[in-house]
Symmetry: C2
Subunit: 311 residues, 2 copies
């Protein structure tokens, strides 16, 4: 199969050539689908949740009630679903893939275990379609502002054809080679650092608490020194609040650090710090605080050394 | 004993009133002693190493060949020695303390275990002298530029009398209360984060290596996202070099994370991430790389999962 590389002729012209089936209209998927529609693509959105579909319709998008309808004639299928299982369900069980055009490009943008992504790519390739492994970082804020960082791995020609597509959604696009799964490893590396930095902040501040220091002063000290991290700056203050606003939940890191450990397992790379950090998010979730702000991982540290047996 | 608080009447005037015995003229102590001398204090420097003493003399400082000579008539004794053992040796075995004036303020600026600092403070107090626990962060660069962050704990009146002294050496001064040891806990909290962030960077980049990714690209991704840390930015590039310039040695973190764990032990606070990070610095030192740049902690990760039994 030969496809010439589309010439770069301005965003609107390029995007008009695409018909996109967009799956997963959650807090990140919704603004992403909206940005693509605004750029001139035909975007048909689908979500198993009716409320999510209504939101997309209200924003001026075209929602579909079946996966087949959303994927019908699609040249690109975007998956911003919860996990790899949902990706299989959409593509195969709900027949989205067989409804798309023969050389459709499937772009998986969810955070998934690299080994699973590699397997999914094989299944997609077996149908003659193409596949890009393209997880993002930047969260809901990045999705809303179209300033995501996008990591991409897969067939170079397919990547080249999607340059404008990625530029609509993100401000930085990194290509990590032909092997699907490589971009998911890069995302795992990213989440390893985020998760360990967050748990390290909890470990550090809980030491300060336990030693009876003024934690506000300690936070100020470490935020302005070689001890600083993006996570410490962003979450440090909320970590010292009892019940802060939720910007990202504890259970997201239970999931993401699970994916990090799976990535390590596939690469046969031992990841002791990530493994310990994972246990603390898990313990916090076990306290019933899985939906709390992820800064509350400090609760597992506090409880661990608590003298109160009744707690 | 009553001492009125000295009025703030300009740096030079204040500092002229002080006679400082400065102990430990190493890579940090030397520039610190020099800044104090330049500010108008009488500074008598001592180091067990003759070369260090010569350097101070060459820079225009007054070096002494005995601790007694350096401390004679001192209103302030500064300790920038290697460890708590040297602090005891200088003050008691070498009789620096008994040579100082009766209400001399001893300022311990080395990084030491908080429990040991508390004990030393008691011994100093027993002689009628005063004590400030005052570790610094900012490294050699901060010492040279007089831009250290200084954490101080101890008697408030003594702290107030040393405002100008600390301002000569640092750009930020934090007071952590009357209890000697508290400032050393704050320094331990700082080093916990530095050490864990450095080991986390090694864990993350070694995963990327093992999975066969382009590590330069991965480093660029994580340096510009929520995964960023001061350590990653500063050490990341050197971590990917085989034999980089040494800015701070592996063995410094073997020592500092040891102090962190001691701080946790005193506070009965479990520190699993710091403990794991410590083991990786120790393993790197065990490979004979204790004097290598601390970014080389990645070698322990590489070796750990290496398939080469001959190595």
């Amino acid at each position: 199969m030969h496809r010439s590389i589309e010439p770069t002729i301005g965003k609107a012209d390029q995007q008009q050539q695409r018909t996109i089936g967009f799956f997963g209209l959650g807090s990140m998927g919704l603004p992403m689908a909206f940005h693509l529609a605004s750029s001139g693509c035909v975007v048909r959105g689908f979500d198993i949740n009716e409320i999510a579909r209504s939101r997309f319709t209200e924003a001026g998008g075209e929602s579909c009630v079946t996966a087949v309808e959303a994927a019908s004639g699609a040249t690109v299928i975007v998956l911003m679903v919860v996990n790899i299982k949902q990706a299989y369900e959409v593509l195969f069980d709900a027949a989205a893939l067989s409804s798309s055009v023969e050389d459709c490009i499937v772009i998986l943008m969810s955070t998934c275990p690299p080994g699973d992504v590699e397997a999914l790519a094989k299944s997609v390739h077996a149908t003659g379609r193409r596949f890009l492994d393209a997880p993002v970082s930047g969260g809901v804020a990045g999705a809303l502002k179209a300033s995501l960082s996008i990591m991409v791995a897969g067939e170079k020609q397919a990547f080249d054809q999607c340059h404008e597509f990625f530029n609509v959604l993100g401000s930085k696009v990194y290509y990590l080679g032909e092997q699907p799964g490589n971009a998911s490893v890069a995302k795992a590396v990213n989440q390893l650092l985020c998760g360990v930095h967050l748990a390290a902040a909890a470990e550090a501040l809980s030491l300060a608490e336990r030693a009876g220091l003024d934690t506000e002063t300690v936070l100020e000290i470490v935020s302005g020194s070689a001890a600083a991290s993006w996570m410490l700056t962003d979450r440090g203050k909320r970590m010292l609040d009892t019940d802060p606003e939720v910007t990202s939940a504890v259970d997201i890191f239970v999931k993401d650090l699970g994916i990090v450990l799976s990535a390590g397992s596939s690469a046969k790379a031992a990841l002791p710090l990530a493994s310990i950090a994972h246990q603390f998010f898990l313990a916090t979730s076990g306290q019933g605080a899985g939906a709390a702000d992820d800064s509350q991982v400090i609760r597992a540290y506090r409880r661990m050394s608590s003298g109160n047996r009744e707690e």
